[in-house]
């Protein structure tokens, strides 16, 4: 997929043109012993060039922030350079023994990530198991369908006051809220994915007298995996939203708590440094997820491409 889009955009992005030329150079210049190395280097160059060619708009947005805040002159809306400066002083140090991060970073971000991670993992396990079970059994799906539809319709944040009543201001409160919010997208996508497996494929597997375990790992899971992964991606975003909200609402530490505390103590630059930190973390998580997804679903994309060209 990236191949086709890159050929379309080469005419516009000079950096990428260079990279493409470098790639062609290694193609045509025979196969010396170091071909693999050169190829790796050029592909790294391509990736860098592509990143530069694609992310100029992000830079433009940050410049707009800087210019806008200088014109607007509000204490609530500090300039990007101030916020970025606070971002580095608040969260990072030059102290190698602490791993170049401040204590604030470890306590606040560590706690937040532990909550989000626990909640998301519980949701993945529960959502996958329940989703597969309901996807296989039509009758079970019919029994639970209204409950699932309704559970999904409740905006998870509306449960926040209730969670505080039941659990108090504890980690369990945050985790349970994240679980409730993220389990439904995973469950429903898994269920749909399992139900949507081509009947011919199921019949083929049955006529081959495939064992149950083998069927599960070679037919059912791969067949449903594109949908499962899209459910996982959606739930990751929702999980982050809920992590922040639950910490804004009631927590004694964590990055959301840091932000709300800073805003109450009129430390607006610090508040924006927290916002920037979450932005960076969210970005990194999504990039990591995209990489895993590309690896796991490579067969899927290739088979679709083959089907399209045939």
């Amino acid at each position: 997929m990236t191949e086709t889009t890159s050929t379309e955009t080469t005419s516009t992005a000079r950096a990428e043109q260079d990279a493409a030329r470098a790639e062609q150079g290694t193609e045509s210049g025979g196969r010396p012993p170091l071909a693999g190395l050169a190829e790796a280097a050029s592909s790294a160059g391509t990736a860098l060039g592509r990143a530069a060619a694609y992310s100029w708009m992000v830079a433009l947005l940050l410049i707009a922030w800087e210019v806008g805040s200088r014109l607007y002159q509000s204490p609530y809306f500090p300039t990007f350079s101030e916020s970025a400066g606070a971002f580095f002083t608040n969260w990072f140090t030059t102290d190698a023994s602490r791993g170049f991060v401040t204590e604030q970073f470890t306590t606040d971000l560590g706690n937040s990530m532990a909550r989000a991670g626990q909640g998301w993992l519980i949701s993945v396990v529960v959502g996958l198991c329940a989703g597969i079970a309901l996807g296989v059994s039509a009758r079970a799906a019919a029994v639970f369908n209204p409950l699932i539809r309704f559970g999904m319709s409740i905006p998870a944040t509306a449960l926040l006051p209730l969670a505080v009543v039941v659990f108090g201001v504890t980690d369990e409160m945050n985790v349970s809220l994240i679980v409730i919010g993220t389990v439904f997208p995973i469950l429903i996508n898994t269920m749909d994915g399992v139900q949507g497996i081509d009947r011919t494929v199921i019949m083929t597997a049955r006529s081959m007298r495939m064992g149950k375990v083998r069927y599960f790992f070679t037919v059912l899971l791969p067949g449903a995996s594109p949908q499962i992964i899209s459910g996982l991606r959606v739930s990751l975003g929702i999980g982050l939203i809920l992590m922040v909200v639950s910490e804004l609402f009631a927590a004694t530490n964590g990055i959301g708590y840091y932000i709300v505390l800073a805003s109450r103590q009129f430390r607006y630059v610090d508040m924006w440094s927290g916002v920037l930190l979450i932005a960076v973390i969210g970005l990194l998580l999504n990039v990591a997820f995209a990489l895993v997804e590309a690896r796991v679903l490579r067969w899927h994309r290739e088979s679709r491409k083959r089907a399209g060209s045939a």
Binding site: T5, T9, S11, T12, A53, Y54, S55, W56, M57, V58, L61, Y76, A138, R139, A142, V143, F144, N145, P146, L147, R149, F150, G151, S153, I154, P155, A156, T157, A158, L159, L160, P161, L162, V164, V165, P185, I188, D192, G196, Q227, S230, G231, V234, G237, I238, I241, M243, V244, V245, L248, F249, I259, S263, M271, V275, I278, A279, G282, L285, N286
Partner: protein
């Protein structure tokens, strides 16, 4: 309600019957219908709730009896004040959806047709989408106050990405052969857009709007919980503070009904207006 829930389940009954084997009498068949099975599931949950609350398995202040909550649902649904608060939430939801759609869809069509802008746009939207919108709540309360403009700003930020991205993808993925055909027919740019690009991009656009509707409601309710003057979230927080857990439960259930209504309405409009797409109705990201 029943008609739509049956529609979403359209393949279940045949499967259930096939699993049951021999054709049964009308009564047995009715008992095996998805509606009956669904009622069974709901009934089971309510029974569990009743048992848990009457045996005192959970503290009374965290789990009132189902009947009490039912009465409170009636109280809330009949109270004029609550209806005004719900209207405020729905109004914000509708305004943010309309505003975002009006801006993001034309923008997405432009960005999707101009090849040079496609990748940078997708990158920037992905970057912004990775930022959980709720992190801006304290800042935007400071900047916009507690009123409608604050709710709108946050919600638009949260749903602009999904709608724009789906529009751009939809336009970008137009079948190239169709575009070639349009060119060989010497259709103008506008004609091509109207006859080729839009019909093929619409399903993707509508999916984006449907996904956005769920996110919008989550964000609006979070904002109302954390600091807003009106809305269904403020009611729930108020009753939590008193504390009246029965009213909290009732409010949450009504919020769920509201979410379900908004979602079902959108899904029905989608089915009605886009009859040429018969893909899995619930595929893709939902929230």
């Amino acid at each position: 309600m029943s008609s739509t829930s049956v529609q979403t389940l359209d393949k279940a009954p045949s499967k259930a019957r096939a699993a049951a084997g021999a054709p049964a009498g009308p009564l047995a068949r009715a008992l095996r219908s998805p509606l009956a099975l669904g009622l069974l599931g709901v009934g089971f949950l309510v029974a569990l709730w009743q048992v848990a609350s009457s045996l005192g398995l959970v503290a009374r202040e965290s789990l009132p009896a189902p009947w009490t909550v039912t009465l409170r649902i009636k109280d809330l649904a009949l109270s004029g004040d609550f209806r005004l608060q719900v209207l405020d939430t729905v109004y914000t939801w509708f305004l943010s959806m309309a505003l975002t759609t009006a801006v993001a869809v034309p923008l997405g069509i432009v960005l999707g047709t101009v090849a040079a802008l496609y990748r940078p746009t997708v990158t920037v939207v992905h970057a912004l989408r990775s930022v959980p919108a709720t992190v801006f709540i304290p800042a935007s309360v400071l900047l916009f106050g507690l009123g409608l403009s604050m709710k709108l700003a946050l919600t638009v930020f949260a749903i602009f990405g999904p709608i724009l991205l789906n529009t751009v993808y939809g336009v970008h993925n137009t079948e190239p052969q169709l575009l070639t055909v349009a060119r060989s027919m010497r259709w103008s740019r506008f004609q091509t857009l109207r006859r080729v690009v839009l019909p093929s991009a619409l399903p993707s656009i509508v999916t984006g709007i449907r996904v956005a509707s769920g996110i919008a409601l989550i964000v609006i309710v979070s904002v109302e919980l954390l600091g807003a003057s009106y809305g269904i979230g403020t009611v729930i927080v108020k009753y939590q503070g008193i504390p009246r857990p029965d009213f909290v439960y009732a409010g949450i259930i009504l919020a769920g009904v509201l979410g379900w209504l908004l979602y079902t309405t959108l899904a029905a409009i989608e089915r009605r207006s886009l009859p040429w797409t018969r893909r899995g109705t619930d595929a893709g990201g939902r929230s």
